[in-house]
């Protein structure tokens, strides 16, 4: 081995703690960067990526099986402009009943079920999340919903009680189709059993086109398909652009916070590597002096120290790539749930770019201080080593000594001023950690508050639909029959008479047109005192009189109105003036949702009988007993009351999981940075620590001094990081609201109350203390005699 090789090997082997810290730091930084980078990349057009990966269908054509033969439909694959096609697949619609783990769900909307032998293919290559594809009759694969509960689980059963023979199928897989071509898939041979009497299944054909970038191009493609089959055979088409629009909007909700966390993670990684590597090299200045005195040139010194840093850094980087990819699996799974896209993976180029970037950073961080030290005159380099350069931090030391604290603490407090550059970098790392924690706290609190606000559209503990449950799917998968309405007034009377009812009101749904607002708008009408079940307000107030409207942000923007303005409700040649009395938090109908008092609709002659009654129970009422009694009373009316539980959306769970993982990662990186700095500091000052211990400094005092030396930095970093984290939150949450089409109510935004802020301000201190505790204990345990011998 060459002399230089020996120098490098000795440098790595002798400084074991330093080497371990460098391995850990690079590993954490690479892990963090891959996770953060993976998320940021995944958040860039996830629909487009998943669509490309699955060869998504630009158009899904639905054909009437009575007007075109299977061969005619299959021949549309050769229509001009079609680049790939799949199908035809027989499609039926049937209302399911799910049973798994003793739970039964029925009264659900019908499923669109396609007979498909394989999940793969040239178009819409469906991604299986769990289980396997159907291998024969009696099996079904369900689509995994991107939002809301999964209806069934693998191993459970789904039956169709409305069909002859009440067929029952076993759920063998859960899959995602980016193009959303069906709700479920079965073997083609299964379709006849799922087809009602006197019905013919329709067919579905999936296409990709050479030109499908715009609605106009797709329209031309659709016309070409219609022309290729007998007139009227093509009953409908679904464009991927509509799905993409919805998906992109869902994605846009996530992007602000993913990017914020990603950038925090990347900045911290860069910072920590810089701190650790340059710190390690700077700490070796005296050794560099010794090497120079032995005849090494500055170039050799530079190479030796770069090599010395690269060995642990390479080990750490390689481990980080592995850990980063593994840790990204659950994170990206959450992201795919949130984006409603197929499984996301870490982009391959990230696995190359991140290690390359990190190693380049390591080289730069090692080379600069090594060359600076190598250019020092040898005697100067040799003189450095015991204490920081004389003259730095003296004023701070003098001022600190006057504080009414124990000497160990005041010595620690003055410590950071002796090495201002190192202190500043570690301050920045802890501050970023504090920003991350503060941001995460606010994000979690706001999302929870927003979720609670959104749940207000189904207030109360009990709901009663005034429609009897549907009797089963219509034959042939045609439009479903509207269930028979019950006597709403009788339902209302039964609820009012029921002991334990604290309040109730009815809600109905209308499609309405407002002057100046494009298209029809979904309106929820409220009958009765709904003050206890008001939506969460952004501004203005809830409905408290006739002809009032509470609207979402998009409605205001579309109508060009403000709270307090009037709008005209039109219908059947009549019109009614309504006043917008408030703006509410809502994302329904892309934020176009309108809540209105029934009076205006009654004036238009619309049927305003409630579809649902929302019931609020008196305090202390047993809900199960209440439901039993109420359902007994409702039996003659033919409707059923059900308990309502507040739903936590899959999106919020996904966001909470991501917030937790990313926060832990940021805190770990910051803590490692502190640990490394304290290791360097205590090593450099081991002699001084030995002197103090010889003078009688007890182990506890030593720990207190070392911890205090970063506690001050941590405390200040926390105090500065908290307002920055709050500012980031106050920027990101409204941006997420804008993407979702709503303003955020001030109460959901202002989640930083004094006590949490105080605790968050201490987060910097906590990170610093946690990072310093281990090396502080090591230094307290170091033998005083050997510390004193250390040069």
């Amino acid at each position: 081995m060459s002399a230089l090789g020996k120098v490098v090997r000795a440098g790595v082997g002798r400084r074991r703690v330093q080497t371990v810290v460098m391995v850990l730091t690079t590993m954490t930084a690479v892990t963090a960067s891959i996770m953060a980078g993976g998320l940021v990349v995944a958040s860039r057009a996830p629909f487009d990526h998943a669509f490309a990966e699955q060869h998504g269908a630009h158009l899904t054509g639905r054909f009437d099986g009575t007007k075109a033969t299977g061969a005619q439909i299959a021949a549309t694959a050769h229509t001009a402009g079609v680049t790939a096609a799949a199908g035809p697949f027989a499609v039926v619609s049937a209302s399911p009943r799910f049973a798994s783990d003793g739970m039964v769900m029925e009264g659900l909307p019908p499923l669109t079920i396609a007979g498909r032998a394989a999940g793969g293919g040239p178009v819409d290559a469906v991604t299986l999340d769990q289980g396997h594809w159907v291998t024969g009759p009696g099996q079904i694969v369900l689509t995994k919903a991107e939002d809301g509960p999964v209806m069934g689980r693998v191993g459970g059963t789904v039956s169709f009680p409305g069909l002859p023979g009440k067929p029952s199928l076993t759920i063998v897989g859960l899959a995602r189709s980016v193009s959303r071509t069906a709700d479920a898939w079965v073997a083609p041979a299964e379709i006849p059993a799922l087809t009602g009497p006197r019905a013919t299944p329709s067919y579905e054909m999936l296409y990709r086109f050479a030109h499908a970038g715009t609605g106009a191009e797709l329209s031309r493609d659709r016309d070409a398909l219609a022309a290729a089959v007998p007139r009227g055979a093509l009953t409908g088409t679904a464009s991927y652009l509509a799905t993409k629009h919805t998906a992109d909007q869902e994605t846009a909700t996530f992007v602000p916070f993913i990017v914020a966390f990603g950038v925090l993670g990347l900045v911290m990684s860069v910072l920590i590597i810089g701190i650790v590597v340059s710190g390690a090299v700077s700490a070796g200045t005296r050794r560099i002096g010794v090497l120079k005195s032995l005849g090494l040139t500055p170039g050799q010194v530079g190479r030796a120290y770069v090599g010395q840093a690269l060995i642990p850094a390479t080990v750490g980087t390689a481990s980080g790539v592995v850990v980063g990819n593994l840790a990204s699996v659950p994170l990206l799974a959450q992201a795919s749930d949130a984006y409603g896209a197929a499984s996301l993976t870490v982009a391959w180029w990230l696995d190359l770019a991140v290690p390359a970037g990190v190693l380049a950073l390591v080289v730069a961080s090692a080379l600069a201080p090594a060359l600076r030290a190598a250019r020092l005159r040898t005697v100067e380099a040799l003189a450095i080593g015991r204490t920081p350069r004389v003259g730095r931090g003296r004023l701070a030391a003098r001022l600190a000594s006057r504080l009414p604290l124990s000497r160990a603490l005041t010595l620690g407090l003055a410590g950071p001023f002796a090495r201002p550059a190192r202190s500043a970098t570690i301050w920045a790392a802890v501050a970023f950690g504090a920003i991350g924690v503060t941001f995460a706290f606010g994000l979690g609190s706001s999302l929870s508050a927003i979720q609670n606000g959104l749940n207000r559209d189904a207030p109360g503990e009990v709901a009663v639909d005034t429609f009897a449950p549907p009797s089963g799917p219509p034959p042939g998968g045609g439009p479903s029959h509207r269930p028979a309405p019950a006597d709403a007034a009788a339902v209302g009377r039964a609820i009012a008479a029921q002991s334990g009812t604290a309040g109730y009101f009815g809600t109905g749904h209308q499609r309405a047109t407002f002057t100046g607002v494009p298209g029809a708008v979904d309106v929820t009408t409220y009958r009765g005192d709904s003050s206890w079940g008001a939506l969460q307000m952004v501004s203005g107030h809830w409905l408290d009189g006739p002809r009032q409207l509470v609207v979402g942000r998009r409605f205001l923007e579309a109508a060009g109105k403000h709270v307090g303005d009037t709008v005209t409700l039109e219908g059947d040649g009549r019109s009614v003036q309504m006043r917008i009395v408030g703006e509410a938090l809502t994302v329904d109908g892309s934020g176009m949702r309108v809540a209105a008092d029934t009076a205006a609709f009654t004036a238009l002659g619309a049927d305003t009988r409630p579809d649902t009654y929302q019931v609020h129970l008196a305090h202390g009422t047993d809900r199960a007993a209440y439901l039993r009694d109420l359902n007994t009373a409702l039996r003659p009316v033919g409707v059923t009351a059900v308990g309502q539980s507040s739903q936590v959306s899959g999106t919020v769970i996904a966001m909470d999981t991501m917030i937790a993982m990313l926060t832990v990662m940021l805190v770990a990186v910051a803590g490692l940075g502190v640990l490394n700095t304290v290791v360097l500091d205590t090593r450099e000052r081991v002699h001084d620590l030995g002197v103090m211990k010889a003078l009688g400094m007890a182990p506890r005092q030593t720990v207190a001094m070392v911890v205090t030396s970063v506690a001050g930095i941590g405390a200040v970093a926390g105090v500065v990081g908290v307002p920055l984290g709050i500012a980031l939150h106050d920027y990101v949450i409204p941006a997420m609201g804008t993407a979702a089409g709503t303003h955020i109510p001030p109460s959901d935004l202002h989640v930083y109350h004094p006590l949490p802020v105080l605790l968050l301000a201490l987060s910097g201190l906590a990170i610093a203390v946690a990072g310093a505790l281990l090396p502080a204990t090591w230094s307290a345990r170091t033998s005083t005699a050997s510390s004193l011998r250390t040069e």
Binding site: V390, H687, K693, L695, G696
Partner: protein, 255 residues
């Protein structure tokens, strides 16, 4: 404390490092209050090991070390730290002053570690600096002082808590001749006033000038003991102070 009371009582002490030969091999030593004991010996003879064991900086492999009535070999880390700050003053070859603290702050350190009253400690520090002739440097940083002045600061620091025993490890080893003479004189005066001193040195002149008793170590054994048991190694100076019983100069502040 009576001059006949042993302040250091070491019995059958053995110390080995890893698998190496014994640095101290069954050594026994008694030092009485007021003695000034010089420990001589070549490098590797066990001088520093002996000093470390007495100061509680290290633990013996076997035997007992009692200093000022305390079984030092049985103390834990916290106990030995407390023992040092209350009963021991240490002076080192390379001064071991903290370069980022002023002279006064260096001297104050031991009293601050025991939590002494601020005003009282400052008065004591000022008194020591004055009597050791370095009061004019009170606000200076150690880097600006000469070697002799730095060692005076180190002595002032060592005396801050009125230790029962002053340990000096090659106190003149890093000094020029003139500064070495100053320190020699200072230690002599301290001992004249009753300060028990144990100094480890190669400097025969220092041993002859300061010590009332001299032992020589070779390979962990005492091979020579001169002046112990009432034999004055330093003419005219007995145990526990001046032969004439008067207290002199700077030594007056040492107790």
């Amino acid at each position: 404390m009576s001059s006949s009371t042993p302040i250091i009582d070491i019995r059958e002490v053995r110390k080995t490092y890893d698998d190496g030969p014994a640095a101290l091999d069954g050594l026994s030593l008694t030092v009485r209050a007021g003695e000034a004991l010089a420990v001589l010996g070549p490098s590797g003879s066990g001088k520093s090991t002996l000093l470390n064991l007495i100061a509680g900086l290290d633990r013996p492999t076997g035997g007992s070390v009692t200093v000022d009535g305390v079984r030092v070999d049985q103390l834990g880390e916290t106990g030995s730290a407390r023992f040092r700050r209350e009963r021991i003053g240490m002076v080192f070859q390379f001064f071991n002053l903290l370069d980022d603290l002023t002279v006064t702050d260096n001297v104050l350190l031991p009293s601050q570690l025991v939590g002494a009253g601020r005003a009282q400690a400052r008065a004591r520090a000022a008194e020591l600096l004055d009597l050791l002739g370095i009061a004019r440097h009170a606000r200076a940083y150690p880097g600006r002082l000469s070697g002799g002045e730095r060692q005076r600061v180190a002595v002032a620091r060592a005396l801050m808590n009125r230790p029962a025993l002053l340990l000096a490890d090659e106190p003149t080893g890093a000094l020029d001749t003139a500064s070495g003479a100053e320190v020699r004189e200072l230690l002599t005066e301290l001992n004249d006033d009753g300060q028990t001193i144990l100094l480890v040195t190669h400097d025969l002149a220092l041993a002859e000038a300061c010590a009332s008793r001299t032992i020589e170590l070779v390979d962990g054994h005492i091979v020579r003991d001169v002046g112990g048991g009432g034999t004055a190694a330093r003419p005219g100076r007995g145990h526990g102070g001046h032969a004439d019983g008067t207290a002199g100069g700077s030594a007056a502040v040492a107790r």
